[in-house]
């Protein structure tokens, strides 16, 4: 089951003649664009397609499972904390756990991950302590930079703005002759940003080792995919730029892992970028500032409840003999506990240091800014804030 390269099939025969700058003759035969395939390994009922089933160790399967459960536990806790007024605006990932976790399981420490804001599940997997992510969402400056050994970009809040830098990182890998790769995700809404189109083009032209994961979760705030694009699939953006693309059941963790694995392999082998459209669904609010009942029908949410990525994986693992009711419950409990511990740690952390706003903009604070800094410190002192 491959991320399928529409171009590979025909470049040999037609590229030279069709490119008008090698105009030995003018080829009149139509260009066959081929198909975009859809990958599903685990269906809604947790039944596995034996022919496609990946050979993964029990450890990997169980770790991945726990990561999904932990993501969901973090999600619920953050919602609670936000409702209690102890957390900033938060973007839940409820229902998208397979999609977000599956896209990073094949990354190493040397690889890079460039996430959008709805990516905490993957960030946890990449090594972000939970309390660090809490600081981030609670509006602390120290929450933004990734932990020491983690090669992530800070998550992107300006829609689509991280995709070009992510491609640049891939180009940097080529420049430095590294065999690593980059995974970058963005939403169905983000697909409309011109900068994302430019990013796909640059990646293709420079054969950058980048895996694009377009998380098609049906909605961009209140805007359904139908109003976002007249197309059937966001994977077709790959076609425009000569990038192999595939659609994946984004609620199927095995499909997400396999598709990403194959795409990262291509990247590492110098075969360039791949675009994965992951079809999933935003079960919850856009953010805690949003009220989806205004714009969408709850029936739709019900349909997707049945496609829960975690339940589906539990069925599979249970059938495989790796889980049973009690170990499932234990996993949920231990994740819940881990989140509570992190929460308490977070509550015990230092308050924000208001003085730091001048310190990280330049390598050293320019004299001019030093004066503003003093002005600012005076303001703080006048307010009775001493540092």
């Amino acid at each position: 089951m491959a991320a399928q390269n529409q171009n590979d099939k025909k470049t040999t025969s037609s590229e030279e003649v069709l490119s008008p700058n090698t105009p030995s003759s003018m080829n009149l035969s139509p260009i066959d664009l081929g198909q975009i395939e859809v990958l599903q390994i685990l269906n809604e009922h947790g039944e596995v397609d034996k022919g496609l089933e990946p050979k993964l160790t029990d450890e990997i399967l169980l770790n991945t499972y726990r990561a999904m459960v932990l993501g969901r536990a973090f999600d619920s806790r953050m919602m609670t904390m936000q409702r209690q007024g102890r957390m900033g605006t938060f973007a839940p990932n409820f229902g998208q756990e397979a999609c977000i976790i599956g896209q990073v399981t094949s990354l190493t420490k040397d690889d890079w991950f460039a996430p959008s804001y709805r990516s905490f599940g993957a960030q946890i997997m990449r090594g972000w302590p939970l309390e660090h992510l809490m600081r981030l969402w609670a509006g602390f400056h120290d929450g933004f930079p990734p932990p020491k050994d983690v090669n992530d970009l800070p998550f992107s809040i300006v829609i689509g703005s991280h995709v070009l830098p992510a491609v640049g990182i891939g180009m940097g890998m080529n420049y430095k002759k590294k065999k690593d790769c980059v995974v970058v995700n963005y939403g169905d809404g983000a697909s409309s940003q011109g900068a994302v189109s430019e990013a796909l083009n640059f990646a293709a032209v420079y054969k950058a080792p980048v895996v694009f994961v377009c998380e098609n979760n049906g909605w961009a705030i209140s805007t359904p995919t139908k109003k976002q694009s007249a197309n059937q699939t966001f994977a077709a953006h790959g076609i425009a730029h000569g990038i192999p693309c595939i659609r994946v059941d984004g609620n199927d963790i095995l499909a997400m892992m396999c598709a990403t694995k194959e795409a990262t392999n291509r990247a590492r082998n110098g075969e360039g970028p791949t675009l994965i459209e992951a079809i999933t669904y935003r079960m919850s609010l856009h953010t805690t500032a949003d009220d989806p009942t205004v714009y969408r029908n709850e029936d739709e949410v019900k349909v997707w409840e049945a496609r829960c990525p975690i339940k589906r994986f539990e069925t599979y693992l249970t059938n495989k003999g790796l889980l049973d009711i009690s170990s499932i419950q234990k996993t949920h409990e231990s994740c819940e506990e881990e989140v509570i511990v992190a929460r308490d740690k977070f509550y015990g952390m230092d308050p924000a240091d208001p003085t730091e706003i001048f310190d990280h903009l330049y390598e050293s604070v320019p004299k001019e800014l030093q004066l503003q800094r003093e002005e600012y410190l005076r303001r703080l002192r006048d307010k009775g804030i001493d540092q």
């Binding site: 605006t89 602390f140 400056h141 983000a190 940003q193 900068a195 805007t223 924000a352 307010k383």
Partner: protein, 327 residues
């Protein structure tokens, strides 16, 4: 008359202008069913239909660029950019077409459109959601830049901007959106663009500000009057560009002292421009350097500490006193 928040007042302006002129239409992300993330366009799609209240794809450059074309064709789009930080995505279309197409065609085509966008800090938003970059637009020839400070002038200025035949950047102080209510007359009301308003007359010093900073300034003025017996002339700029230099200059010629407050970054900001103009227009009356209290030249900080970035009334009080004590 009813007491409206700024959000409601803006909604009223759009509703009435759409009723008045069937060429007025709205474009933006999530402005339809959802009524906009701040609910400013609430129910307008219900009232005026999907063709006139258009939910757009998530692409600011696309929104502004197509709105320019619609405006050239005789439609009058009122565009909402969800947060002013995302106008950067549309910078090219704003600078190259929205601001210039009239000039490029010597007036054959006009671009009667309004770009509404919430700006500024103070609501504990995530990064890139608290930008005040009105100076970019003031530095761009061909635009008018309008910043209301309360529900009533917001409504009147938005209506005037929609009727104006030139492109307007309409910068809405989101910290004021629901901060207070004001009487807003039911009948359509407009205010002339390009006029500053003397909100309070005074003889000792001129305090110039606009938008969300009106509130701390008003507090400071009260404080200065009551506790320090200082009589401040308070001016609300309302239109940033073209600027009403005359009103500012006359005031400073009278008071001889001036403090300017705005939350945007300082370097090449609006306060600098005001100082430059007053340097020219009121040099011989100035008895002390003009003081500017502005955002600092760093990105707007994350929300745990944003309150310290924003000018507050205490500091304005000190600045006024320092300016009057200067020698």
């Amino acid at each position: 008359m009813s007491k409206l928040t700024m959000v409601e007042a803006l909604n009223l302006a759009m509703d009435q202008e759409m009723a008045r002129d069937k060429n007025v239409c709205l474009m933006g992300e999530d402005i339809g069913v959802n009524g906009g993330v701040f609910r400013t366009t609430k129910d307008l799609q219900k009232t005026h239909g999907e063709e006139r209240v258009m939910d757009t794809p998530l692409a600011e450059c696309g929104i502004v660029g197509t709105a320019v074309g619609m405006a050239v064709y005789g439609v009058r789009p009122v565009v909402e950019i969800q947060f002013s930080g995302f106008t950067m995505q549309a910078f090219d279309q704003i600078e190259q077409n929205m601001a210039r197409l009239r000039n490029r065609t010597r007036g054959k085509y006009t671009v009667p459109m309004v770009l509404r966008t919430p700006y500024g800090g103070g609501i504990r938003a995530v990064e890139h959601h608290s930008e005040s970059r009105e100076a970019y637009w003031a530095h761009t020839p061909g635009l008018k830049v309008v910043v209301p400070s309360g529900p009533r002038n917001a409504r009147a200025l938005l209506a005037a901007s929609i009727r104006d035949n030139d492109p307007v950047i309409f910068y809405e102080p989101k910290a004021v959106y629901r901060a207070f209510r004001e009487e807003v007359p039911e009948e359509p009301e407009t205010m002339e663009l390009g006029k500053a308003e003397i909100v309070r007359e005074g003889k000792d010093i001129t305090l110039i500000t606009y938008g969300a900073m009106m509130r701390p300034c008003k507090e400071a003025v009260l404080d200065l009057a009551e506790d320090h017996n200082i009589d401040v002339e308070l001016i609300d700029l309302l239109t940033i560009s073209p600027m009403d230099t005359e009103t500012l200059a006359e005031s400073v010629q009278k008071t001889g002292h001036c403090v300017i407050v705005n939350e945007g970054q300082r370097n090449c900001g609006v306060a600098a421009e005001i100082i430059a103009r007053l340097n020219e227009a009121a040099f011989d009356c100035l008895e002390a350097p003009i003081k500017r209290i502005t955002g600092f030249d760093v990105p707007f900080p994350y929300f745990q500490i944003e309150e310290h970035f924003l000018p507050e009334s205490e500091e304005i009080v000190s600045a006024v006193k320092e300016t009057l004590d200067w020698q």
